[in-house]
Amino acid sequence: MANNKNRRSVTLHGRVFLQGNIKTITGLHIGGAAGALEIGGVDSPIIRDPLTNRPFIPGSSLRGKMRSLTERLHGSEQNMRIGKGVFVHICRQKKMSDAEYREMYRNCPVCSVFGVTGDEGVPHPTSLVVRDVYLGDDSAAQLDRAQTDFPYSEIKWEATIDRVTSAAVPRQIERVPAGTLFEGFELAYGIYDASGRDHFATVLKALQLVEEDYLGGLGSRGGGKVEFQITNVYARKGTEYKTEKFEVDGAQPVTDHLVTTINDWVKQTFEDVGD
């Protein structure tokens, strides 16, 4: 911990919390690690809770998809190499001073919301936290009764067919059936400065982008369409960390109207936040 001689500080003005559920509209496949290679075993298993064996949506999957689509929306330059041929966006460019970089970071809807690696000297910590989302008890009971191929999941057969001979190469894909409800989805967004507050719209837009795209794999083949149901929105602010609530009537879809009203409410709640 630090005894300050060369002052560098960051102030958390508050956090905005978005809570709700995620409903699968089409089969959802978020890949997991195969436990063992076995004859007749599924080729592409889904990720499961290590204790309950129930499928869940990792926060990293949702967050990664939100970030990826936001980068595409803004046409962000793909300049950071993660693996062989895999790139993501960061604001840092060659021959850029620290001051220029920080200014660019502050104005970037991707970096200031979703963060960068720890190797970069940035003005504040990552703003957005996305939690894991677990299968609801009612949906679990429903899937139990439905006697699906595997516990809480179904098998979808796919095949690649030779265009000339029609010979098929089949494969099995495990997925969570359509209509399943994952409960307790939560986003926490930290507000450190005025630009961070103004970037909150990015989070809501990213949710809309995910709804219109897909989560997990098999998206181009119909899988992974999800619907967010917002049930609770509140903020905690100031050093007293007082709670202020945004009224949500039941479980609301992420419509343009809801996005605008939540965004206006966040701006109003944190209007005194300066740079």
């Binding site: 630090a2 005894n3 560098r8 690690a33 290590p50 895999v86 936290v129 996305v130 939690r131 960390y241």
Partner: protein
């Protein structure tokens, strides 16, 4: 007056407590007190500014005796329902018949965590009869957790399914696993796959397993106590450990105040610690004769707003569960250690400290002596030779 506060972390998801080495695949089921203290300071600085942390650290550094320090705390250790676990102190097997049998001794050797009832019996050198079955420890989790038969029965509702066969298993309090992760190229959809270790704590309909720490309030007044409790609340929201922005590490804290924590012996020349301990120069006596200890290297990275991640200076500390000699002239205390990275030091940047205060619990002298059985065997062996 509140002397102790037990803070139970009811998990809201999984934790990633990375260890030493390359890669992110490993995740522990506990977190040392120095990491917990740093996490609390970070959230305090975020919410109240750096000044408040500097004042707090100055109080720790200015303390001459343990009672002058604001507080001290234990490492984060696991609990399940109302059973709290503690590190198995390095006192060896209890005094039980046939303890000299090599096969039996190995079962005690495998134990990593003991329930507080078993710990108390070991520290006071009482026979933990309620925790033995045919002179063998009553264990769960493949022999790693030692508890009483009644406690074991009480935890039977912590049911889990085997990750491969899907068959029910009980009791399972936590499980570590590998979570596959992927970064997908935005343009080509090419993927870079990697794996991340996660620790998941189990829950039942009515209760859960998780992590807890005990804070001993020393010189802290009510306002400091409220500040630290507030920091735990904050930490629950932002998370502890690694990969927090991806949903790891969040929890709901539950506070339980109490006056006495009668866990150890009333007197004795030895003590164990529930936090990594960095002795002050005048406390070197603690590693005197008969002390049984493990030295662990504490190193890692430092996140400081406005700087790139920096590797902090590494230090060695005495590990939790070590049994040390109580010094004859001073009370064991420990220190905040300067671990400022070279880069910061050269640029006259902030000084960085690491928490190394001891959380001592007395061990009875009798607990340190070999059992009668062993002495008898030695005498016999000696006689033969």
């Amino acid at each position: 007056m509140t002397r102790y506060t037990r803070v139970r972390f009811r998990p809201r998801g999984q934790f990633h407590f990375g260890g030493r080495g390359v890669g992110m695949e490993r995740s522990d089921v506990w977190l040392p007190a120095d990491s917990l203290f740093s996490a609390l300071c970070t959230v305090l600085a975020d919410q109240h500014g750096a000044d408040i942390v500097e004042e707090l650290l100055a109080e720790f550094r200015g303390a001459r005796t343990p009672s002058d320090a604001p507080f001290r705390l234990t490492s984060l250790m696991p609990y399940a329902a109302d059973v709290s676990f503690l590190p198995y102190p390095m006192v060896g097997p209890p005094r039980i018949p046939n303890a000299t049998d090599l096969r039996r001794r190995k079962q005690f050797k495998a134990v990593q965590w003991v329930s507080s009832n078993v710990f108390r019996a070991l520290a006071r050198h009482e026979s933990p009869t309620a925790a033995l079955e045919n002179d063998l420890p009553t264990t769960i989790h493949g022999g790693k957790i030692w508890l009483t038969l009644k406690e074991k029965d009480g935890l039977e509702s912590f049911m889990a399914r085997h990750p491969e066969t899907g068959k029910p298993q009980s009791p399972v309090l936590w499980r570590t696993h590998l979570r596959p992760r992927v970064t997908v190229d935005r343009k080509t959809l090419k993927s870079a796959v990697y794996a991340l270790g996660g620790t998941a704590f189990n829950r039942t309909k009515d209760s859960s397993a998780g992590l807890y720490t005990v804070v001993e309030w020393l010189a802290a007044d009510e306002s400091v106590q409220a500040l630290i409790k507030g920091a735990f609340e904050q930490l629950g929201e932002v998370g502890i450990g690694g990969k927090r922005s991806s949903g790891f590490g969040q929890f709901v804290p539950n506070f339980e105040d109490f006056v006495n924590w009668s866990i150890g012996a009333s007197d004795g020349d030895f003590f164990t610690t529930f936090s990594p301990y960095h002795p002050r120069p005048n406390e070197r006596e603690v590693i005197g004769p008969e002390a049984r200890y493990e030295i662990e290297l504490r190193r890692g990275w430092l996140s400081l707003s406005g700087y790139m991640n920096l590797r902090r200076a590494s230090i060695r500390m005495i590990a939790d569960g070590s049994v040390l000699r109580w010094p004859s002239t001073v009370t064991p205390f420990g220190d905040l250690v300067d671990v400022t990275p070279k880069t910061l030091f050269e640029n006259e940047g902030p000084t960085v400290y690491r928490y190394g205060l001891v959380f001592p619990v007395r061990i009875a002298n009798a607990a340190m002596k070999p059992s009668d059985q062993i002495e008898t065997r030695r005498q016999l062996d000696g006689g033969r030779s």
